[in-house]
Symmetry: C2
Subunit: 396 residues, 2 copies
């Protein structure tokens, strides 16, 4: 049978491709330290579960296609506290940030179009963009520069007649790069001047460790026609399994098109929207505690990495990921070897090999993404395993 | 700004387009009888809410991309009781039947491809197919024949070199048509002989009123490479707001491609999957009671329609919809008039105008879809309003 040429271009998730090897290693009695998936271990605020338990309608009915008013109002309130004033119909509730991204791309992209994305980038963008028949055009970065990309000349050099949008993940997954306010302003200006959409994936907004104010591309009122915000409760409230996100834009035509997609899939899960609305009422002290915890974890991982000979890793200012270049020939082969051949006291470690985070062939081969989502002691042990693994792998 | 040529071809949902007029009518004090949306008023089995209340993990984490094993096992058990033996990896849990449909189309369709669908059909198929750059090629039917389409010559006449799949909704939305076992066998044979996928949307499987056994295209083992089942808990358990469905196929290559999409959106909502798994444990007497209730409603609506002069409506054997041809010039204009000009004791009625259920321009203009999802007394009043409305509209 023949399949879509678009799906043939897509790949399985690099974060999940070693899953069968991990299962086999566990069956051999290995304990695996998982740094490969961005699933936080932080408790979800109890408001989430309380709201669901209080739900007392007797029919679990469709919600309105744009989302339940209670959640839309909660999100408006959250942005108002950050100084941004969105109307209710600037916000469409989506099934996670993932659906918001998919809808934004589907509204904008035609076959042969390009979106500019700094590489390394979140690999699921590949499937979403390929589904539209479009391509990711990477903005190059390098580990030596801490993966920073916000240079006007560097970005403008990649714009061509096929470019339809710039996508930034800020704070960055997988790099942890956080844009300064001036850099955000510059990117918004580039989008305006070149008449491009600016899709800003701000899932990790709260995860910044330099004491800076929370930021959003939504602050630039003059770029309102261009800016599309992607947001989600997944990381903010450690509620990844709720699958509740939103698409936010003041571009009325875009929102009109996006509503067509929202109607075609009817609605987002009702109970999860009720839970998400309750989460937005969580006391701000929650974020302060979470931020402290992640900062500690980041510092632990970075300090340990910088002690490993030959590892290249700058201290990233945000999110809960980092990229590091390792002194190995191929991170993919190394990961498989760690699962199949290596053990230290019965333990081994998993990360995400770097190559699938790049669009440029061959780039990222000796790099890895680490999600520092484990407790401090586990992270220390995981870093020890990585150090021992590198040494044993190179001496094998 | 420029938008995707694909989204420009999509329209808002015809079931929801009169929403603003309905709101305005309600603000003028009208009571509206809603027959326009397929949202059942039947209580969701309490097992759904009980399961959610019992959830006691402290992190609402991502579920596995293919779905939680507990739900996949529950669905396997349900199909086993119907005589079909599916492996765990023949099943991917999706965000409603809607996502299962979108994924199936995205795996199969390229620009310029066609899918054969009997018209009138579920209008959201339009958006899903257009997103892939493909087109719906209709199999014609007519109200005089009760919208039946399962004729080999009629189907084969529409197959051409662009055809990639046949889509059937069985039992049918919007027509209530139910295929006989022989008709299903014939359609599976056509798919095999012409090397087409057969996407069988079986959301309404339990809603059949002639005492027949529950059926599925999944029964035809010899067509396993061709058959793709779309299923959902939405109507079966009156749990539309759970947004839990599944894609089922024994075609391994298709399932491999579908998994890429499942991974790119990470997972389906965790709590809803737990709830859905519990729903599959509901006692079969639940379905018997629900079926009796809908059969009564159908008979009420059909009898009332057949008493209205000039209305054409056969008694449909399944689902909870029917199409009827009205003695009016244009059902769209008539609906707007019902909301803006008409009232009887302060009441009016809403249905879905028929034209958007067709791909052939001009067809369905005097037809409507009725969802008989209200209690008996309300349905009787709604039919009275329709009869009075038709008379007043034609005498205005």
């Amino acid at each position: 049978m023949k399949f879509s040429s678009k799906v043939e271009r897509c790949r399985l998730s690099p974060m999940r491709k070693f899953h069968p090897y991990a299962v086999a290693a566990e069956q051999r009695g290995r304990r695996i330290y998982h740094l490969n998936i961005g699933q936080p271990d932080i408790a979800t605020p109890s408001a989430c579960f309380d709201a669901v338990r209080r739900f007392n309608r007797n029919v679990l009915a469709y919600a309105p296609s744009p989302g339940i008013p209670e959640l839309i109002e909660a999100i408006r309130g959250y942005y108002a506290r950050l100084g941004m004033d969105f109307a209710a119909d600037d916000i469409l509730i989506t099934t996670g940030g993932s659906e918001a991204l998919a809808i934004a791309f589907q509204c904008i992209l035609d076959d042969g179009d390009e979106v500019l994305i700094p590489e390394p980038f979140y690999p699921n963008y590949n499937t979403m963009v390929a589904t539209c028949g479009a391509h990711i055009h990477p903005i190059p970065t390098c580990p030596e520069e801490g993966y920073r990309y916000a240079d006007r000349a560097r970005i403008e050099a990649e714009i061509n007649e096929h470019t339809r949008a710039i996508v930034v993940t800020n704070p960055g997954n997988p790099t942890g790069v956080v844009l300064t306010h001036d850099e955000m302003r510059m990117i918004a200006d580039v989008a305006k001047e070149h008449d491009l959409f600016l899709i800003s994936d701000e899932a990790y907004r709260e995860f910044v460790y330099g004491g800076e104010a929370l930021q959003s591309m939504g602050e630039f009122a003059d770029a309102a026609e261009h800016v599309v915000l992607i947001d989600t409760v997944s990381k903010r409230f450690s509620a990844c399994g709720a699958r509740v996100g939103c698409l936010i834009s003041r571009n009325r035509e875009l929102m009109g098109h996006a509503l067509k997609y929202c109607q075609s899939r009817l609605s987002v899960a009702t109970l999860d929207q009720v839970a998400a609305a309750a989460l937005y009422g969580v006391d701000p002290s929650y974020f302060a505690a979470v931020r402290e915890e992640y900062k500690l974890r980041r510092d632990t991982v970075v300090a340990a990495l910088q002690r490993i000979p030959g590892v290249l890793c700058e201290c990233p200012p945000g999110a809960f990921y980092l990229m590091a270049a390792l002194p190995v020939d191929d991170a993919d082969t190394f990961q498989q070897w760690l699962l199949e051949e290596f053990e230290d006291n019965g333990d081994t470690v998993m990360f995400a090999p770097g190559e699938p985070f790049y669009a440029t062939p061959g780039k990222g081969r000796n790099e890895i993404r680490i999600a520092y989502v484990l407790k401090q002691a586990d992270l220390e042990r995981a870093m020890e395993l990585l150090a021992k693994g590198i040494e044993a792998y190179n001496n094998r």
